[in-house]
Symmetry: C2
Subunit: 418 residues, 2 copies
């Protein structure tokens, strides 16, 4: 039953993708703008649908961070609409000549961007992923098959209806964006394992259980967003106020996003100068601190961290803190416990920052800026479908440009190969 439904969706998506590849950027932008307008106009319906999801989530006793991710209000709905408009306002990711050169034999070679084809998006509680993911797929000429989590089912369906209005307004095949209309988890398994004929790539967005499933079951290429165990490293040349502001923002601005910091590392030589200032701000903001022995000795409010804490993505108002013996140990700690997502060094010493940039192998490395900037919108991509922590195809924020492939166009005058 699931198989049949999913294969019909896949075949329809493949047909829609062939048409999408031939649409103009203007046509795709018109669909995006119409979808944004429909979301604004439909905000009462979206809020009502979200209220149903929130009520169910509260009944099921979901955590504060999860509720925060699920919740929509006027501001977030406006943000969604504005995000789609921002995507519409970006350059056309298709038909770009990415490179061109001529060979000594006179062959002229161009590498030209084209859509990936059909993209499956599996996500969990955040309803805005529906809008962001569909908008980026549409912008880049890809057909999308969306499979949102059961928590956000009603919200996502309401948003999806607005997206369909946008497609209709621009005369684009409605199957360009489809949503799996069941919360049956078997649909996810089928999408991961048996849709190779229809799907070019799957983008999972979610927590550990989804990631584990994807790693075990995926038989199609995955642009993977794994955990965000993000570190802020306070180097001995860190300025105390800047360290405090960045740690506070990196942890507490929104605790439920993947770019939220989970661990602070600080140089032993600067611990007495930095720890009290940073810790006081965190504690004032309601954050629990789990520290190593040195941190606990200096900070009565800290709880002793266990080995597990260093590899835990709290997604909550909890942070682990460890004193290190300098940049080598900080880099080693990140290599051991990090998830390759985003790390920050706070330092006034640029040569230390360059060392950190070179030797830390994560998708995003920052000097003197909050890890919460790990976001496609903040990077200027209009929106993002996720942050890729894998190394293949795309890494870091995945925007419309990252959802393209390319073809080579070679112009000759009768050349044969010797």
């Amino acid at each position: 039953m699931i198989a049949n439904t999913m294969n019909l969706m896949g075949a329809a998506a493949r047909r829609a993708a062939a048409g999408l590849a031939l649409t103009s950027g203007e046509q795709r932008n018109a669909a995006l703008l119409a979808a944004a307008a429909a979301i604004r106009q439909g905000r009462a319906e979206i809020l009502a649908a979200n209220a149903r999801d929130m009520a169910e989530a509260n009944e099921r006793g979901l955590s504060g961070s999860l509720l925060d991710r699920l919740m929509l209000d006027e501001e977030r709905i406006e943000g969604m609409a504005a995000g789609i408009e921002a995507v519409a306002g970006m350059h056309d990711p298709l038909g770009r000549v990415l490179a061109e050169w001529e060979r000594p034999n006179g062959l002229s070679i161009q590498r030209v961007s084209v859509p990936l084809g059909v993209i499956g998006i599996i996500y969990e509680s955040r309803p805005n992923v529906t809008a962001d993911a569909a908008a980026l797929c549409l912008k880049s000429g890809n057909a999308a098959i969306l499979r949102g989590g059961s928590e956000s089912f009603h919200s996502s369906q309401a948003i999806y209806q607005c997206l369909r209005e946008g497609l209709a307004a621009a005369s684009i095949d409605a199957d360009a964006v489809q949503m799996v209309a069941t919360t049956d988890r078997a649909a996810v398994g089928y999408l991961l394992s048996s849709m190779g004929e229809w799907l070019d790539v799957v983008v999972p967005r979610g927590g550990k259980s989804l990631i584990k499933r994807v790693q075990e079951e995926a038989r199609v290429p995955v642009i993977g967003h794994l955990e965000g165990i993000c570190h802020v490293y306070l180097h001995e040349a860190a300025e105390a106020d800047m360290a405090r502001d960045i740690v506070l923002n990196a942890k507490m601005r929104r605790t439920g996003i993947c770019g939220a910091a989970e661990t602070v590392l600080l140089d032993r030589s600067a611990a007495e100068r930095l720890l009290p200032v940073v810790a006081a701000a965190l504690i004032d903001a309601g954050c629990e601190i789990r520290g190593d022995a040195t941190v606990c000795a200096m900070l009565p409010a800290a709880v002793a961290a266990s080995e597990d804490d260093w590899s835990t993505e709290y997604l909550d108002a909890i942070i682990s803190m460890r004193v290190v013996d300098g940049i080598d140990q900080a880099i080693e700690h990140i290599a051991t416990y990090g998830s390759g997502h985003t790390e920050c060094i706070v330092t006034a010493d640029n040569s230390a920052a360059e060392r950190f940039f070179r030797d830390v192998d994560s998708a995003i490395l920052l000097q003197n800026a909050s890890t919460q900037f790990a976001d496609g919108g903040e990077f200027g991509m209009g929106a993002e479908i996720g942050i890729a922590t894998g190394r293949v195809h795309a890494r870091g924020p995945v925007g419309a440009d990252q959802l393209t492939s390319y073809k080579y166009v070679v112009r000759g005058s009768g050349q044969t190969r010797p």
Copy 2:
């Protein structure tokens, strides 16, 4: 036993990759130049090893195309050494600033190329893949685990020893290039299914049985080279001599390579003008023609093509020919039977070529040039590890630049996210 051996190799490759990422381009080039010198100096040993492989292949009655792919002579060994030197002479694919921009909040963002990590290469009879693949991996700072086919076992081992000499000469960890020293096919299965911890990507090079295995068993990202069912479409505005030269070269220059043409499509309106000229050249060169009804009616020497012929990669001196009713039918034929590798249109009409470029969804599209130019060397990449027919990560010839990922480096001055 295999598992243990493979995991040890994987762990060693991962360690070597961490070191490789920190080597300079000069150091990696020095290793390449030393390897090329070792290949030249070791050509007697390589030829002797190849003679053993060829003798075994002859005994097993391998086809002419396979023997051609397996065979090494002085010229091909020189080509291998020169190919490695060409790779050494290319720009450093690492540390390139692929893009940079500044955000309104003052954050400066750079996208910088980095290695993929550890690359597994599974290949079959062509021994030169050992040199090409290892050279490209080394150039791009990736550790390589090579698994050559049993046919080319001795040749590949001899080449591999030269590569190790190169690494030693440049003081690079010998585990940067490793070769699976068994012809047990279980090693391939293990590489595909159980090395996720150690491998970032697998590149398969080979025929249908390998491809089928990869599709069924791969649990790591694959940069896939599938079949090369390449088409030459003779448009009604094709010049007859050019059509003849291109078809002859595309089919017969080397029949065993993936860029060899397998099907000629020709416009009905030009069939009488083009078919006799093209067919005569093919028949003179010893090529069998399998034609549709129209072709067979015009050409007594042609054999009737079956439905299967249109989707067959002969890799031999056989070509299928079909008369089509114009560019729409040609595009449709390629969409139905093609493998997304390389297609050529022969035409003096540039608007027809633009239509072909836009609507045919293959990795490489050529106008008025032989499909045998589908090659990283011919594209100016120094060498190639294969031609990717997938859409994720890389498409078309995969050179050193395509074996990289990137990281984002963000420089701030204390920015926090509002």
